[in-house]
């Protein structure tokens, strides 16, 4: 979707403003937001791709002014309601009002080290050979789906070079919408800045994306 999250190349957002001696958390609620988000992810009810898409769907004005933990919480509220775990009424009252969905698992404290150490690998074997090879010139697709995609707007309909074939991975554009993992080959594709930004681009700059096979065409 062409949402507020797709930020590459936007102007007017101000300085980066790195903090000196930045604390790991800026408020107690951020700690809880981190833990709640990861704990609910462990339910096994949605994928990382669905959760990213829920974040992209935070209203643009809110998205651009919120901290990232706030974006997480707003998206989590959406996911918990969508999957029947916590209704809007329960969220607003902070009270258990109805029997909701049952998760595949509840993350207990003793499970945390193993769960974090395992992570969630999303490489998947694929029998079909890769369609593109290293060094090949490719053109990215021009599309504007209302659904989830990981091809940023700035890198659509651009010609670049395949720098690496990275293996085969879960395809987020499908997986975010419950259409299955449908793995595809993944490529690192590098572009000259002039191809992306045109006139006035930094001549010393190249930018790469990691692109699933269906994002690419032969030139």
């Amino acid at each position: 979707m062409n949402g507020p999250h797709d930020l590459g190349g936007q102007h007017g957002l101000g300085p980066v403003a790195p903090e000196t001696d930045e604390p790991l958390f800026h408020a107690e609620w951020e700690k809880r937001a981190l833990g709640i988000t990861l704990s609910c992810g462990a339910f096994g009810a949605w994928t990382i791709d669905e959760s990213r898409h829920a974040r992209e769907n935070v209203a643009p004005a809110t998205y651009l002014s919120a901290s990232y933990y706030e974006i997480w919480i707003r998206a989590l509220e959406t996911l918990l309601a969508r999957h029947g775990f916590v209704s809007a009424a329960e969220r607003e009252t902070g009270q258990w009002l109805e029997q909701g969905a049952a998760p595949k698992r509840v993350l207990k404290a003793e499970m945390v080290p193993a769960v974090l150490a395992a992570g969630g690998p999303c490489d998947r074997p694929l029998a079909a050979p890769a369609a593109f090879r290293v060094g090949e010139r490719v053109r990215t697709k021009n599309f504007n789906p209302q659904t989830h995609t990981r091809l940023p707007r700035y890198a659509r309909a651009r010609i670049g070079t395949v720098e690496a074939v990275q293996g085969s991975f879960v395809f987020p554009d499908d997986n975010a919408h419950g259409k299955g993992e449908n793995p595809q080959w993944l490529y690192t594709v590098v572009f000259d800045a002039a191809e992306i930004w045109g006139e006035g681009a930094d001549p010393s700059l190249t930018v790469s994306i990691d692109a699933w096979e269906s994002y690419l065409d032969h030139t």
């Binding site: 903090e19 809880r32 709640i36």
Partner: protein
């Protein structure tokens, strides 16, 4: 006037924070009542990222790459396995790639679409990494971004920006500063900053550059 504006801004900020505090508290309360979360698990997650998983992990990877050519070669070929050999695995580090700065090329990591970051080696991302200005500008004006970190690179150095659009997580291996030949890996790791491993910093022999 200026002081009043500043004060007013802080009031808004604090109000918003207490609003979020209440919002998150309500969510945690109902999730706990329903038996869907274990508050102790939240504590354990927070403690893990406060005390166990942070940029020190990545700094040890960098120092080992500087001191052991075989390890640097392994990082180039299979960064996930090389990094796992030091015990750094798991969430947001499942598929690692190491990119090496050279005298010709400087690498910079960003996630323009969300907040992808190599947690297993760098811990939780800083606020600026997840915020719109960095995500917007890193791919179009990296030199301007670097200047805000106090880093100015000669025009002759190429800049390569890696947008983390998939599940590969990138770690920049900065250049080893001169004058550090006498230091062992532990002392070298002390010099390696988080920002240097994102690409928004350089490593200096005195460790004084962020």
């Amino acid at each position: 006037m200026q002081h009043d504006d500043h004060h007013h801004h802080h009031d808004d900020h604090d109000n918003h924070f207490s609003e979020m505090q209440a919002r998150v508290k309500a969510l945690e309360t109902v999730l706990t009542q329903k038996g869907l979360i274990d508050p102790a698990a939240i504590d354990a997650i927070v403690e893990t990222y406060e005390t166990k998983i942070g940029p020190r992990n990545g700094a040890r990877v960098v120092a080992k790459a500087w001191t052991e050519p075989d390890f640097a070669e392994w990082l180039t070929r299979d960064a996930t396995a090389a990094i796992a050999s030091l015990g750094y695995t798991g969430r947001q580090g499942e598929h690692m790639r190491a990119v090496f700065n050279t005298p010709e090329t400087h690498n910079l990591i960003v996630c323009t679409l969300c907040s992808c970051y190599p947690w297993a080696v760098l811990g939780l991302p800083p606020v600026w990494y997840k915020a719109p200005p960095y995500r917007a500008r890193a791919v179009i004006d990296p030199r301007g971004v670097l200047a805000e970190f106090g880093v100015t690179l000669p025009e002759s150095i190429k800049i390569r920006v890696w947008d983390s659009t998939a599940e590969l997580r990138y770690l920049v291996i900065p250049e080893r500063p001169s004058g550090t030949e006498h230091l062992d890996a532990e002392r070298l790791a002390d010099l390696v900053t988080r920002d240097a491993m994102i690409g928004t910093g350089l490593v200096s022999s005195s460790g004084d550059v962020r």
